[in-house]
Subunit: 267 residues, 2 copies
């Protein structure tokens, strides 16, 4: 009666709101009614009714129970299965990450450049009790992350300038590099060494080591990284992990190569 917890369903476009609705429904282990969803989401009833109707017509939901309730539809469940069965790419990447975490004992992640930010594609946490909790899907500015520096280091200086000009170098910690000249120097160093470090530049106490996942044609758009509390892994010890990181990167390279579609089926 008193619970007015509203699970916001947002989305820039009406289209995307439907996915939010599906998520709400998929999380439940029970049938849902129109009225129940109205109370849960706060959306107007006719709007929800239309959405449910669309999803039902598409087979993503189905009426169930007494006919006025909804559950996930066959088509949606099939899509879910197809996706999880067929996506060896992400499965393989995840396996590589997990192995790397086993080896180094710290949280690791795979990242990609998306716009001017670094996006966490996947992540496996360390089993150690003390850890930074950063979840996949989140974003970090390029200039203060190890992976981001790698991506910047691959670009021509004009590309880099264009990217950074529109997003000023925000200062996250005392050590964040906010001076463009200093950043250029740092990037030059990264290019020479072939690896990048984040020395508490994004979060105090968090250090990070990253290398690019190599790519045949030229620039790469993904990187692997280890992240650890500096208390447990000071910089010198962090650098000892380079060979293991490199091996993981090669494994990822092979996976991505195959997923790029050079190995067609017939002929």
């Amino acid at each position: 009666m008193s619970t007015s917890e509203v699970t916001r369903i947002d989305g820039d476009t009406p289209t995307l709101r439907l996915f939010g609705l599906l998520e709400v429904i998929a999380q439940k282990d029970q049938f849902v009614s129109l009225q129940g969803l109205v109370e849960e989401t706060g959306l107007p009833k006719p709007t929800l009714h239309r959405m449910l109707q669309q999803l039902e017509n598409a087979g993503m939901l189905q009426r169930d129970g007494d006919g006025r309730q909804y559950s996930t539809g066959l088509r949606l469940r099939q899509l879910a299965e197809t996706l999880l069965l067929n996506n060896t790419v992400h499965g393989a990447r995840h396996a590589v990450l997990r192995r790397l975490v086993d080896e180094v004992g710290e949280s690791c992640n795979i990242t990609a450049l998306s716009g001017a930010e670094v996006l966490y594609l996947d992540r496996v946490e360390t089993p150690a009790p003390l850890r930074f909790y950063l979840h996949p899907g989140s974003r970090v500015p390029a200039h203060c992350s190890a992976s981001g520096k790698l991506f910047l280091a691959q670009m021509s200086s004009s590309q880099r300038r264009r990217l950074l000009e529109h997003s000023p170098l925000e200062k996250y910690t005392e050590k964040t590099i906010v001076d463009p000249v200093a950043l250029e120097a740092e990037i030059e160093r990264v290019r020479r060494d072939g690896y990048a470090v984040d020395n508490e530049e994004f979060l105090p106490g968090l250090v990070c080591l990253a290398v690019l996942v190599p790519r045949a044609g030229g620039r790469s758009n993904s990187a692997v990284a280890v992240q650890a509390p500096v208390i447990r892994l000071p910089l010198e010890k962090l650098l000892d992990l380079l060979p293991k990181l490199g091996r993981a990167a090669s494994a990822l390279e092979r996976i991505e190569f195959e997923a790029t579609g050079d190995g067609r089926d017939s002929a």
Copy 2:
């Protein structure tokens, strides 16, 4: 070069087209490019570009590989996992069906009334080599299916008339009941006996026995049925399966009851 196989992506509403696109992408085990999708679906390039962009912004897809290719996004994969993990309802139903098929040796399905048609919610095939292949998600008119007669038998005659008036009794086989008076008599018999039979009324050679999944409050909207080739299972032998069907129906009743949300979690 010569392959002009176009995977149609339809949908009454723009929203639904996105699901079609996701299905195309989820089925692949490789990254897809904009151009590749243009060739595969036949949709105009700007349209596809916008759709991909929306899905990417929503996290349902992610750019991958060299950054101009797409693969399934984290949010979509999480949705898939949530759905498959959390949906004990459909899993339990499927298990009941499978057990029933083991017992009776013939294909079985769970159906629901949707409009004036019977919708196959789930189905498990017999291992026998000779079988009718009817896939879940397909629809059959109510008047010539065992399940449909059960649903009709629960209605008041005015409800039934309204439903049938707008969809004339189509004749599928020699035995299809197309005379309204005969149908009323048949339905009266179904109500008395508590089960319904389809004696080659939809497909020649196919017989079917169905019972309702009971429901506490009154009318039920789902049924269980056995379907078999009449050659292997003549009517008399088919009726011997009634007790087993009934037991499956009770099991399903319990599952649906729990899913209806009477057993809330806290307090």
